[in-house]
Symmetry: C2
Subunit: 336 residues, 2 copies
């Protein structure tokens, strides 16, 4: 059984899967043969993956006509079928590999470009995120559900077929905890959400704005870690992504499509990473995050992977960004 281990120095958590992989042949994680005929994400190859947990045609007469489907990872390192069983051994703390790991397939085409997706297809993916997050949050042992989309080898994508991953864990990941702590510290002084204050200022200044509509706004953040980093937020204060209605998600799809099109126009379809940062599971056992509905604000971070040296910087936590976000936003705003 896999374990979730706590580093005794930093207290960060790491999932370790001793029994699943014990030889090095696992490492070439990119498939040599990445063609539609062998692709487990292509229509007709559904038997190569576990059964669907969600599709956009769940209720339809022809469920095989899905545009978006979600299924569990074939070799899950984290599983809901185990007890947490937290233990200590000397200075070392660990627990069983409780959690979930799911794959969201976007679209029926093996090699597709975000610019070719219809707004409806993007909206279906956003509904998949919401519905799966809500379902996984029903397990009170799971404190966080991460959602991320990766495109291109440099962003770590294993296949050309567009997909996202959903990972649910009994621990809040360090990057989100950093945001939660910062947002709470700000709230304790100001009694306002720091994301709301930042958005107000960005809308007022305008120099870093990328796109906005009635419900959502996107800008290049003041301290962008990567060139052309874009954050997307709901304009109304909301901590939890799962509260979005279908109608709101249609508007969100419009914003996501606009950001993706702009990034691709300016940077020529770069490797791309998108992470959805929602609140921790508010139904979870602990009341650690009780104040979150007031002080945290869900958002999406779009990070084009244009610099080779990024790996080091993400590890050490000090970033050097050669493109000012004001210049990036200006380029992204320019119609193409």
């Amino acid at each position: 059984m896999s374990e979730i281990r706590r580093d005794p120095i930093t207290t960060r958590w790491v999932a370790i899967a001793p029994e699943i992989i014990d030889d090095l042949s696992f490492f070439p994680s990119l498939r040599e043969d990445d063609s539609a005929s062998s692709c487990p994400f292509c229509p007709g190859n559904e038997a190569l993956t576990p059964a669907s947990l969600w599709t956009d045609r769940m209720e339809a007469e022809r469920p095989d006509e899905w545009h978006v489907r979600v299924f569990p990872n074939r070799t899950p390192i984290l599983q809901t079928e185990v007890a947490e069983n937290p233990q200590g051994k000397g200075v070392f703390d660990f627990m069983n590999g409780l959690g979930a790991h799911e794959v969201v397939v976007h679209g029926r085409e093996h090699t597709s470009h975000l610019s070719e997706f219809t707004r409806g297809q993007i909206a279906a993916g956003l509904r998949a995120y919401r519905d799966r997050m809500a379902d996984l949050s029903g397990d009170r042992r799971l404190h966080y559900v991460m959602v991320h989309y990766d495109r291109g080898r440099r962003a770590g994508a294993a296949l050309a077929h567009p997909y996202s991953q959903i990972v649910a864990t009994p621990k809040v990941p360090a990057a989100v905890e950093e945001e939660l702590n910062g947002a709470r510290s700000y709230y304790l002084i100001k009694e306002r959400c720091v994301f709301c204050d930042v958005l107000t200022e960005e809308l007022r200044m305008g120099t870093r704005m990328v796109v906005e509509n009635e419900f959502y706004a996107a800008f290049c953040p003041f301290a962008s870690r990567s060139p052309y980093e874009v954050w997307l937020l709901p304009k109304m204060h909301q901590s939890d992504y799962t509260s979005q209605t279908d109608t709101q998600l249609e508007h969100l799809a419009e914003t996501v499509q606009s950001i993706a099109t702009k990034i691709d126009s300016v940077l020529g379809e770069p490797a791309l990473h998108m992470a959805l940062h929602s609140s921790p599971n508010l139904k979870a056992k602990s009341d650690n995050w009780r104040s979150v509905p007031q002080d945290f604000h869900w958002h999406m971070e779009f990070i084009p992977r244009v610099l080779e040296r990024a790996a080091f910087e993400w590890g050490i936590g000090f970033h050097i960004n050669p493109v000012a976000p004001e210049k990036a936003a200006q380029a992204l705003r320019t119609p193409h």
Copy 2:
């Protein structure tokens, strides 16, 4: 002038260099022509770089016979010639791009393998780290000096010629601050260094040990974030790398050589990242880190880049590692 900006939510710092790069041609950071004749790090091409700040032949009659040389980065984003000038503008905090960015060239050969380096050449590189860190720490405005070595494209190396980078900043990078905070919390309860306690337990258990000699020991950490991650520590408690003597650095070179040879034997010369985590600059203006000599322990982290998906995990701070450190250590200990 470049700026160091504070993210208003997480309070992490990012260096932004608006004026140095303003077009996208910067991004293909890997040189198309990476041959010895055009390599700025090869002997004979010294005129392509700024003048040496340090060489292992500084005092010699033939200084051009260097094996290791250090010089400032040609387009420095951080510079010591500026005043900090911290400012706020609404919710946004920033300061001038104070700091330093230097390059350490290891060896005279353009394409060389760590296994081909003599112990003396490795020791010269370790002395270069120490001497430059000590020199930069004389500037009381600089709170941290980072040192890292990267090999291979996947680790972000721009050239085949082996090199390290030294980056001095007025802020402690987030990853080190995380370690400092964890180590201090532990010390406040136990009145012992957490690194010393971990090392004692690793030596006692033996299952994760990789190599040791009189002064240094290396093991695969309990919560390894990456397959075959290795940490190297001095056995005696020491917070500051710059306190190493030349004799100690000969022993350290032996340990580094042994780790590199083992990693290359098991993984076949993978892309590799090494980060040296020393204490913050204890001469710096702030007394924030006053307790560091007791509770922090310098170390080197060796991280082979064998998984494509690593970028996401380093960003979000929740790692999934398919190889247990006990298995990795066993493979690394096996003689090759």
